[in-house]
Symmetry: C2
Subunit: 365 residues, 2 copies
Amino acid sequence: MRNDRRKFLKGGAAAATGAAIAGFPMIAGAQQTFNWKMTSAYPKGAPFYMDGPGSATDLARRIEAMSNGRIKITVYGAGELIPALEGFDAVRSGTVEMNHANSYFWTGKTFAAQYFTAVPFGLNFQGMNGWLYDGGGIKLWHEVYAPFGMIAFPCGNTGVQMTGWFKKEIKSIKDFNGLKMRIPGLAGKVYATLGVDVKLLPGGEIFPALERGVIDAAEFVGPYQDRRLGLQKAAKNYYTTGWHETATVSELLINKAAWDKLPKDLQAIVENACAACNVISEAWCQRTNAEAMEELIKKEGVIARPLPDDVIKGLRAATRKVLEEAVAKDPATRKVHNSYMAFKAGYDSWAGYSEAVYHSKIRGA
Amino acid sequence: MRNDRRKFLKGGAAAATGAAIAGFPMIAGAQQTFNWKMTSAYPKGAPFYMDGPGSATDLARRIEAMSNGRIKITVYGAGELIPALEGFDAVRSGTVEMNHANSYFWTGKTFAAQYFTAVPFGLNFQGMNGWLYDGGGIKLWHEVYAPFGMIAFPCGNTGVQMTGWFKKEIKSIKDFNGLKMRIPGLAGKVYATLGVDVKLLPGGEIFPALERGVIDAAEFVGPYQDRRLGLQKAAKNYYTTGWHETATVSELLINKAAWDKLPKDLQAIVENACAACNVISEAWCQRTNAEAMEELIKKEGVIARPLPDDVIKGLRAATRKVLEEAVAKDPATRKVHNSYMAFKAGYDSWAGYSEAVYHSKIRGA
């Protein structure tokens, strides 16, 4: 008996970590289960975030499958358990163990959180992963959330988003002045400095507002998601540039005290599931956006093009000013900003020899 | 006892799958361990493939951590257990359960395997993942390997590779005629149609051959790996274009009979670990290549640039011809080719609105 038990423990199972059941001291550990809740900032069934490859429900399914049911995660869409944007407080207080969303929703708590989702004129998917996994990004993310008793992992990415839908063509930076546009977050702040009348509307209200002329322009995500809302029926100028969100990261936010209770093998399962969903969700976006963009252009009369160069120049200058102000105000933001921008400088130069050449000289027929 | 046992089985553990030890019928199942061997086509310690984030050893470590030691994988570098390129036969025969390499080493067994690594003028990292995960690529991979009793998963990516090192500047397609170049695989076949005298040399022999003038040019991987071999000391013209390997996929090849013996949770662990290593290894390449390229250009006098446009045009035409011949010969290759190219047509168009615009108008300062 003793020998069997020793061999068994040496086998490396979680036997030692769990509570014991009389007569089955070793089974108990191996079988300890965790019933966790995961809330989301997005409604039930929302493609990409809630449904489909690499989404919140897929992430939960992968974790459950890998752990053979030792972690069971119930996923709640926005409003099912808590309102859409209360995930930060819910995870912080331990009401739920996890929230699936984007860190830039929490800039009111700590502005540095912006950098773990996307900053305007920032890194693309490949560069962002370079910074997150290998350039100190995830470490800084944990550092920024430590005072709140939380950690987070990247668990999805939309790839480069589109600038959005405009009723009238944008010919110069002056055309932004007085324009009523649905645009949330930091990009909204940048547009506001250029005279845009920034409107905050939930996804479902964008189409009617744009159709009725309550707004002149709207940003949402990219071809697949935008087309699903029907935005192409309300405006035909689709600016593709995606300066504002160059690779939007999904965040799995986790209560640190709950995390610390997980055995190491289950922590590894959660962390690897997040990385898997990161690449798999972005792959899904490439396919669905390609299909949707073709429909929009070939069948729905959409004019898709980048913003004029001088408009991009104006947006870039306005972005720099907004970020400089944020950095000046807060040491945590400065630290994250400096790490991000140092990595970006290296990536930018390398991309000029690699991916940029791929797209300009190799990709097309 | 009965109730306890029933509850336990209901818990979803692997209890039912394993062999029983007297007195501990349920532990045995939960604890069944698999001692597997993973060979590699690359030598022990080789960066990216054998060492570092997302490498073969990191993949094995992740699988072991997630399974809490229920899968233990001993990783062997090339030549340690079998010669470098015998992984296909070793996994097929069941001598080893897994091999870590690239599918294009197996084009002698089935030419279709080329498409699961990289084809010249093919998809980049984002497009390739779109096809593999979401465009039927992985399914076709399994279909192609089914007659050999194997399956495979993508488990790494180098990103876009560099065209290579040339003693003399390449000004026209005619400069390839008679050029002695180290270039393996399909790209070698393409160069051969343009008069290149193709040389096959292992990594360690490239530098001395290039330095002594035994060869005039050499392709290896990208800035980090190439610089490690010292190629910049033997030739100064570094062509960046990367037409031949636009996003080289690492392959985890698995014996299907061994795979079928794994409980579902362990299968899920292996599959998700591969996806995690896919994105994490590519992230590592972005950082290390950025750093190495800066050193090469700023400190080692390397001239880095794309090939002239008419040379690229010639290579593209030669590639098309070589692929057409391969497709005409083999129905399996034709099926994979058609799936790949159909996906690529959609991705190419979409990338023109998304990543291409990012690189040409948004990324730089």
